[in-house]
């Protein structure tokens, strides 16, 4: 019963009180707190893991997007190049065609002009022959009975004229 001998009464009460305190706290106190802390910890861990996964997925998406953009840009430049080529080609073709057309028109015109000229010349020659014949008729009617030399000259003239008419 002195300082260092345990007193029975106090020991009894201590055991009882501690037992009750332990029962109450172990049932309604500490497990509530520790379980919740544990759950929150799990939740936080899970959230961090999720965030990491999302981050990775975002990075993959960004990479994919970048690639798509690159591809699109490449395609765009290819299309532009092709378009400019096509334009040049079409222009060249059109020019070529126009030139050919023009050449053809020119050639046609030339042949037509030549034909016109020919027929006009022929008409003129015929007219000249007829004119010369009528002129010659008029001259002959006047002087043909003169002499022999004149006769000869007339023959020569007619000859020449007919030759020219054949030509």
């Amino acid at each position: 019963m002195s300082l260092i001998t345990p007193d029975f009464g106090l020991l009894f009460w201590m055991t009882l009180i501690f037992g009750i305190v332990f029962f109450v706290l172990a049932k309604f106190g500490f497990p509530v707190i520790t379980d919740m802390v544990r759950k929150r910890k799990e939740r936080i861990d899970q959230s961090i893991a999720d965030a990491r996964a999302i981050e990775a997925r975002m990075a993959a998406l960004a990479e994919e997007q970048r690639q798509m953009l690159d591809e699109a840009r490449k395609e765009q430049s290819a299309i532009l190049k092709e378009a400019s080529e096509t334009k040049a080609r079409i222009l060249a073709e059109a020019k070529e065609q126009a030139r050919a057309e023009a050449d053809k028109i020119l050639a046609d015109a030339r042949t037509q002009i030549a034909a016109e000229k020919e027929s006009a010349l022929r008409d003129v020659r015929k007219e000249v022959a007829l004119l010369s014949v009528s002129i010659a008729e008029k001259i002959l009617r006047k002087d043909l009975s003169v002499d022999e030399a004149q006769r000869e000259y007339i023959d020569k003239m007619v000859d020449e004229t007919t030759r020219a008419g054949i030509n």
Partner: protein
Amino acid sequence: MKWLRYIAVLFLSILPVPLSAEELDMDEYLYGHVLDSYEWHITTVNGHPVSIPLPVIVHSKTTGWHVFSSRHLEEGPYEGFYLVHDPETHKERIMEQTPDGDVRPLDISITKNVAGLMFNSLVLVLLILIGARWYKKHDAREEAPGGFAGLIEMLVSMVEDDIIKPCVGPDYKRYSPYLLTAFFFIFVNNLLGIVPFFPGGANITGNIAVTFAMAMFTFLAVNLFGNKHYYKDIFWPDVPMFLKVIPLMPLIEIIGMFTKPFSLMVRLFANILAGHMMILGVVAVVFLTAELGAAMNSGLTVIAVVFGVFMDILELLVAFLQAYIFTMLSSVFIGLSRQHPEEEKE
């Protein structure tokens, strides 16, 4: 202005003041404060003690149970029981007058320590349950508590993460409620023991019966749930055969089973008791030096107050530290009893 006032107070204190030269009985003063008693002495006003009478519960072999107020014991024998004050141990105890001479009855009185224990336990239970109530109203997965619940959660998490988890090992969840209860029980009782006025100030964790009970609980927790490997290590350890034939090692191991909780018991008891004694001693300087004159007395009073503040702060540290050590060592002992042999091979 402030300094002037201080100087005035200092001068006044040096003036010879007639003090009641009442001799302070140092032993009575010290033991009266650290030991248990049947009434709760709060203070003394004009020579009249102000105290709360507590119920005395005794069982006599001849007359059965007796429950009465401790106030009756002051006047002398009551229902055949009387109070003995042992001048050697400074301990009060109740004796019963019987025809065959005086015997000690079975005494489970609500003494000062029991009353203090009840009050402190109530405080502890309220603290933890108020802390735990927060979780019923909130989803702890979505938010963390602040304020009081946050403080309790921080302390609980600290004890569980820093002491219980690493010391007990994989089975810690099973022991966590006991170890947390032990920690907070000791911590709250230590802290309220430092509070110098009613209802604090009872020297509870500095009482050997309390620490004995605490150590006993740890002893049970260790030995009731010890696994095969633990008991094999005690009765058939891996030592040379001759140490087992003459059962030297098992003997040492069995003694070790008891010395571990014994050390827990003595460590907590001695630390808290010594702390109380130190503070009481420092405070006693004020009264002991009263005879030496006002100047000496006031000088030493200043020193005593400074030392008292220092000791109180030190005791705050000790209050936490002893709860921490008790819990940690209990965890280590439990951890040893739950060790798995495959872990040891590593």
